[in-house]
C-alpha cells in the first residue's frame, strides 16, 4: 500500500448566492490563501494542484488554465477533474491518491463554483435535453424523481413530513453556526411546512440552493504531515462507486424509486459506504462514527441515506430524527455544517463534505464543533450517479 495521508489545511470562502465583486481567480485565490494559512504553509511548499468545477456553469473551457493565477499552480504539476455533482469528492480522492503515491510532499485540492455568471438553466438543459431525445423530459424529471423518492419515503412510513421539516430546521440551526454557510438564517418548523410546494410532497425549502464559493484543502503523506502539522485529520480510506445506468440522456426512467434498481444514487451511496465499513472493520457505524457530512441535495435524500449508510434500519430514519440523534447535539450529528441544503456551490459541495469532516476531526469547528470527534464519515454524491465515501480519523 501507499503512504498514509492526512488533511493538514482547509480553506473556504463565504458562500453566497452571488459574488459579482470577485472574478474566478479572486474567488479561488481567497480559498487557497485561507487553506495555506490554516496549514501554516506558503504556496512554495505546494507540489501539485488538483482543481475541479463544472466548466459549463462557469463558461470556461479548460478553467484550470486561467485559474493558475488563483491556485498558484505555475510550474507545479496538476490536473483537473470533473464528475458533475461529485466533482468535489472526485478532486479530493484524486488528491488523496497523489498524496499517497509517494511522489509529492504536499497536494493542494481546489473545488469551486461561480454560478452567478452563467445561465445555469441553459447549462443544465444541456444535460437534460438530448438532441434526439428532444422532449426535454430529462431535466424536468429531476424534480419529479426527487419528489418520487419523497413520496416513497412517506408511503413506506420511513418519515413524516413533520420529521423532515424538523431535519431542515436542524440544518438551518447548524448553518447559522457556520460562518461560511450560504442559507444561514434559522427557520421554523412552520416555515418549512408551509414553504412553496414544488411537486408534492417536495417543498422549496427541502432542496439545495445555488451558491457561489470555493473550497481548498491541503494534503500530505504521513512522513510530512507528522513533521509540519500538530493536528492532522488522517484520511483512513475512501471508496467511490459509480452506478451509471443512463440509457440515453434525457431518459432517466431507470433512476426511479419504483424502477427495477430503486433509486440509483441511494444504491451507489450504500455500496460505497458499506465497502468502506467492511474494509475498515466498522460493524456498527452509528456507534463507531462520531460525525457524518453527507451530500444532501434534498432533506428527503438525507433521510433516505441514513438507511443507506446503515445509521438505522430500513424505515427507521424518522425515528433517528424524532429522537434528535442526528441533530447537532445528538448522539451522531449529521451535517453540522448545514449540509448541501444550506450551501450548494456545485463543484465545491462534495469537497465541502470532506473539508467540513476534517474540520470536525481537527476540532476547528468553533460554534458548529461536535464534541470529541474521533472518527468522521464524509459522503459525496452526484453527477451521473457517482458516490464517494471518505473515512477520517483523529488518530492513526
Amino acid at each position: 500500500m501507499g503512504e498514509r495521508i492526512a488533511i493538514i489545511g482547509v480553506g473556504e470562502t463565504e458562500f453566497r448566492s452571488r459574488n459579482v465583486e470577485a472574478s474566478h481567480v479572486d474567488l479561488v485565490n481567497l480559498a487557497v490563501k485561507r487553506a495555506l494559512e490554516n496549514a501554516q504553509l506558503t504556496i512554495k511548499d505546494i507540489d501539485t494542484v488538483i482543481t475541479g468545477q463544472m466548466e459549463l456553469f462557469e463558461g470556461l473551457y479548460l478553467p484550470d488554465m486561467w485559474l493558475v493565477e488563483g491556485t498558484g499552480a505555475y510550474l507545479k504539476s496538476g490536473m483537473r477533474i470533473q464528475t458533475g455533482g461529485t466533482t468535489g469528492t472526485s478532486v479530493a480522492t484524486t488528491a488523496f491518491c497523489h498524496a499517497a503515491s509517494g511522489e509529492f510532499k504536499t497536494v493542494l485540492a481546489v473545488a469551486y463554483e461561480k454560478q452567478d455568471e452563467g445561465s445555469s438553466e441553459a447549462a443544465l438543459r444541456s444535460i437534460s435535453e438530448d438532441t434526439f431525445y428532444d422532449i426535454g423530459a430529462g431535466g424536468k424529471s429531476a424534480a419529479p424523481a426527487m419528489a418520487e423518492l419523497a413520496m416513497d419515503m412517506l408511503e413506506r412510513g420511513a418519515v413524516t413530513e413533520e420529521q423532515i421539516a424538523a431535519l431542515r430546521v436542524n440544518e438551518s440551526e447548524c448553518a447559522s453556526r457556520n460562518p461560511y454557510a450560504h442559507l444561514n438564517r434559522k427557520v421554523t418548523l412552520d416555515e418549512v411546512l408551509h414553504s412553496r410546494l414544488l411537486i408534492p410532497p417536495l417543498r422549496l425549502m427541502h432542496i439545495c440552493p445555488t451558491s457561489v464559493g470555493a473550497c481548498a484543502m491541503i494534503l500530505a503523506p504521513e512522513s510530512v504531515a507528522k513533521k509540519i502539522c500538530p493536528n492532522p485529520a488522517w484520511v483512513v480510506d475512501w471508496v467511490t462507486v459509480h452506478a451509471a445506468m443512463t440509457p440515453i440522456l434525457g431518459h432517466q426512467g431507470i433512476y426511479l424509486t419504483h424502477g427495477p434498481l430503486g433509486p440509483l444514487w441511494g444504491w451507489a451511496v450504500e455500496k460505497s459506504a458499506v465497502s468502506l465499513y467492511k474494509r475498515n472493520g466498522i460493524t456498527n457505524p452509528r456507534k463507531e462514527v462520531d460525525v457524518v457530512e453527507m451530500y444532501n441535495m434534498s432533506t428527503w435524500h438525507e433521510a433516505e441515506w441514513y438507511e443507506r449508510i446503515h445509521l438505522c434500519e430500513r424505515n427507521e430514519s424518522g425515528k433517528l430524527i424524532e429522537k434528535g440523534i442526528v441533530f447537532l447535539d445528538g448522539e451522531l450529528p449529521v451535517n453540522p455544517s448545514g449540509g448541501v441544503v444550506s450551501t450548494n456551490a456545485i463543484g465545491a459541495s462534495a469537497m465541502l463534505r470532506v473539508a467540513e469532516a476534517a474540520i470536525q476531526v481537527r476540532g476547528e469547528g468553533d460554534r458548529r464543533q461536535v464534541d470529541g470527534v474521533e472518527t468522521a464519515l464524509a459522503v459525496g454524491a452526484g453527477g451521473d450517479t457517482y458516490s464517494a465515501a471518505v473515512l477520517l480519523r483523529k488518530h492513526l
Binding site: S23, V49, M65
Partner: protein
C-alpha cells in the same frame, strides 16, 4: 517509484475526419472492446477469480460534447456500473497520469483509461476561445491557432528557424503516417508542397496544422503484482511529470516552454534519465502544429534551446535516426485533441513491445510520450516508458 506500474494492453480506433456512422458511445465501445479482448480482462464484481478492472478513468470535455458531465454519454460502454470511476478534463495523457497515481497510491490495481472525441461535430475555434481569460483575451476571439501562430512567429524569429525546417516536420510525420494503419492523413509530401499550401494564420500553413479528427483510444494499467498475470510483456511506466505554465501569452517567453522543461525534469528524475537523446530510443510527442515539434524537442532536452531545427536538418528524429520522433505520424498524421496524448502512450507501448508493424523502431527499450493542452501548451505532461 514506490509501486511499479505497467501498461498491459492498448487499443485505438482508426482516426478519421468524420465518423458520422457512430455515436460517441459506439466510438468508445470500439476501443474498449478491443482493449478488453487484447488483455482478456473483465470487471471487478463480474469476474471474481481473475484480476479485473477496478477503476475507470475517462478523458473528455463538456464543451466538446456540448453537455455537462460529458462522461454520462459513454459510461455504459466503459462498463462503469458498480465501479470506481472518475473523469479527467484534460489531454488523454493526464488520464494515464491519473491511473498511474491511482495504482502507485496502493488503492487500485487495474485501471482502464479511455479518451474519445469527435472534433467533427462542432467548431473547435469557438471552444478554444473559451479557454482564455474572459476579461482580457476572450473578447478578441482568439483561438489556439492564433495563439500558436504568435508562438511560432516568436520562436522562429528568436532562433532563426526557417519555414523549410518547419515544413520538414510535416514531410516526416505525414510520411511516417503511411506506415500507420490507424493514421488519418498519410501523405507523401515534399517541403515545397508544404510551403505551397495556403496560410491559415501566418506563419502556420494549412499542412502544418493538425487536421480535424474523430477517434478514441483505450489503455489498461496494472500494478506490478498483477501485470504478469495479464501479459508476458508488460511495459513499465518509468517516470511521469506534468506542469502548468503561466496563463497569459504576454507573460511567457513563447520561444521557451518552461512548463515542458519542468514536466520533463520530473519525469526524467523519476526514470533516472540524464541524457535523453542517448537514453531514449523512440519518442511520441504531441505536435499540434509543425513548429511545436521543434520547440518541444528543446523543452524535452533533446537539444539546447534554439537547436531543434538542427535535429530535423540532421535527420536525428527521422525513422532510422538516433531518436525517431513520431513514427506513428503524430498529431499531423491525424489524432483528435484530448485523445492525442493517450495515443502517444499507446504508440509508445506498441513500439516497446515490438508490435508497431511497419512503423517499428529497431531495438526500442525506452520510449517517451508527451501531451499538452491549453493555449500554446500551457499544461504539459511527459511520460517515460520502458521494458
Amino acid at each position: 517509484m514506490a509501486r511499479r506500474v505497467a501498461v498491459v494492453g492498448v487499443a485505438q480506433t482508426k482516426y478519421e475526419a468524420e465518423k458520422v456512422h457512430l455515436s460517441n458511445g459506439e466510438l468508445v465501445w470500439e476501443a474498449v472492446e478491443r482493449v478488453r479482448k487484447n488483455t482478456g480482462l473483465g470487471y471487478i464484481g463480474l469476474v471474481s477469480d481473475k484480476p479485473s478492472i477496478d477503476k475507470i478513468v475517462s478523458c473528455s470535455e463538456d464543451f466538446w460534447q456540448g453537455r455537462a458531465i460529458s462522461d454520462m454519454q459513454i459510461s455504459m460502454e466503459m462498463g462503469v456500473f458498480g465501479l470506481d470511476s472518475t473523469k479527467v478534463s484534460s489531454d488523454g495523457i493526464q488520464g494515464v497520469y491519473h491511473g498511474v497515481i491511482d495504482i502507485m497510491s496502493g488503492h487500485h490495481d487495474i485501471v482502464l483509461v479511455v479518451a474519445h472525441r469527435k472534433e467533427s461535430e462542432t467548431a473547435g475555434s469557438v471552444i478554444e476561445n473559451c479557454a482564455f481569460d474572459p476579461i482580457y483575451v476572450r473578447p478578441l476571439g482568439i483561438d489556439f491557432l492564433g495563439a500558436a501562430a504568435l508562438q511560432a512567429q516568436r520562436y522562429m524569429s528568436a532562433y532563426k528557424v526557417t519555414p523549410e525546417q518547419c515544413a520538414k516536420v510535416v514531410v516526416k510525420n505525414k510520411g511516417n503516417a503511411k506506415n500507420n494503419p490507424y493514421a488519418q492523413e498519410p501523405m507523401h509530401l515534399t517541403v515545397s508542397d508544404v510551403l505551397n499550401s495556403e496560410f491559415l494564420c501566418e506563419p502556420i500553413r494549412a499542412l502544418e496544422a493538425k487536421p480535424v479528427s474523430d477517434g478514441a483510444a483505450a489503455l489498461v494499467l496494472a500494478s506490478e503484482e498483477v501485470a504478469y498475470e495479464i501479459t508476458e510483456k508488460p511495459v513499465w511506466i518509468k517516470g511521469i511529470g506534468n506542469a502548468y505554465d503561466a496563463h497569459y501569452l504576454g507573460d511567457r517567453d513563447l520561444a521557451k516552454c518552461e512548463a515542458l522543461v519542468a514536466a520533463a525534469k520530473r519525469a526524467y528524475a523519476m526514470a533516472g534519465i540524464a541524457h535523453p537523446v542517448e537514453e531514449i530510443d523512440v519518442a511520441e510527442i504531441s505536435e499540434g502544429y509543425a513548429y511545436q515539434e521543434l520547440l518541444w524537442y528543446e523543452g524535452l532536452g533533446f537539444c539546447e534551446p534554439g537547436k531543434g531545427r538542427e535535429l530535423i536538418d540532421r535527420g536525428v528524429t527521422s525513422m532510422g535516426g538516433k531518436l525517431p520522433v513520431n513514427p506513428s505520424g503524430g498529431l499531423l498524421g491525424g489524432n483528435p485533441s484530448c485523445v492525442a496524448g493517450l495515443t502517444r502512450v499507446v504508440e509508445s507501448f506498441l513500439q516497446l513491445r515490438g508490435e508497431a508493424g511497419s512503423r517499428q523502431v529497431t531495438n526500442a527499450n525506452t520510449a517517451l510520450a508527451h501531451g499538452w493542452t491549453g493555449p500554446c501548451g500551457q499544461s504539459q505532461s511527459v511520460m517515460i516508458l520502458g521494458i
